[in-house]
Assembly symmetry: C2
Homo-oligomer: 224 residues x 2
């Protein structure tokens, strides 16, 4: 990544995409300028954090005035690489894969599902939403042919490791993994994990709000 020297934390990149969403909303409402405070409040972050996030990339505001909504949005789109189109493949055309294919959030400007993959002979060769389903064995070829850069992994857990390996072998550098396995990647690969079962367990933990009384020799937890 290229940006004023300092390394950009991944949380910052995540927030940038949220800032952009809000900016586009404000833009639709006809706003022309916005202050760091207004924008930050909308996302429940601190204004200083927003300014710091932007500072990794340059100076985009005007002191005393705030930011131009349209200009800042344009800057963020550029930083996020949304000025061009990315071709996506979804591997695993089950419930989740099919839903994502049809999900509006995935078909936003800048992204295009170009191919589907599965290993079920019943599915291979057919199409969903007009997108052809290939056999996973053809991954490398189709990736090359269709110039696919992003893979969404929605295979069942047992198939995940093998699928991930095939994806990396095919030269993919960006993976969005919905399967409940940890994929070890080199530094040149970005792999983001969305683990729905895990999120539920976090919620469960806070709901339960209980400790385990497994402590030994008096080392038991004290109710807070």
């Amino acid at each position: 990544m290229i940006e004023n020297g300092k390394k950009v934390p991944q949380v910052t990149v995540k927030r940038l995409s949220r800032y952009l969403r809000v900016l586009e909303h404000f833009s639709e409402q006809g706003y022309e300028t916005i202050s760091s405070e207004e924008l930050a409040n909308e996302l429940h972050v601190k204004p200083s954090q927003l300014r710091k996030d932007l500072a990794y990339f340059g100076e985009f505001g005007t002191r005393g005035m705030g930011y131009s909504v349209s200009k800042l949005a344009e800057v963020l789109r550029k930083i996020l690489g949304l000025h061009r189109q990315w071709a996506i493949a979804i591997i695993g055309v089950g419930n989740l894969g099919t839903a994502l294919l049809r999900y509006k959030g995935l078909n936003e400007k800048g992204f295009r599902v170009a191919a589907l993959f599965d290993d079920d002979p019943e599915k291979v060769g057919s199409a969903r939403s007009g997108i052809h389903i290939y056999h996973v064995d053809n991954l490398a070829n189709v990736v090359k042919e269709k110039n696919i850069q992003i893979v969404i992994l929605t295979v069942p857990a047992p198939a995940a490791r093998a699928a991930a390996e095939a994806v990396i072998k095919a030269g993919i550098k960006s993976i969005l993994n919905f399967a409940p396995v940890s994929i070890k990647t080199g530094p040149e690969i970005t792999c983001l994990q969305v683990d729905i079962a895990s999120e539920l367990k976090i919620l469960s933990h806070y709901l339960a709000g209980q400790d385990v009384s497994g402590g030994k020799d008096g080392k038991v937890a004290i109710p807070g």
Copy 2:
């Protein structure tokens, strides 16, 4: 939460659920003990981090020996509140909501989808996978009646804010939000956000690997 005094970071809770997943896998394979190193390697975290994570809750290992796979799994299940059953409602029975309803990861032991909600009159009154679809206006009543504790929000963006408010009004303390809006909640509410469009933009950013050349007066980014 009740645990040896110190506040538990949310990342720790997230990792606990991953540890459990791996432990269950090892348990199926017939393993009886496991060291922090083996378990940590599986998830690409440092052994010291795993031990530190566990230390928030007590002492569960045996020096020189490692951990009992079954005992540690049991401890984690307790910490994560998986020793009991939680009732879930899904609000928004579109592509994503329907997919999640059928998604295996969501129907794991400990979780049960008890009700669906939508505002589309075509859907209200019917059922999906045997679960009744209620009108969102009945949220508070049904939540009470069915003792629902967790809500999964899969409504389209424009409906998200209102839905979130209704959910909080209904007394729900745990929300898994797939809608691209930031929900402001009090400290007693846990709201986790899964933002698929945002994840894609992060991938796009790293793929593009470019800066914005918007800097003023020589403050342009330097290729790294």
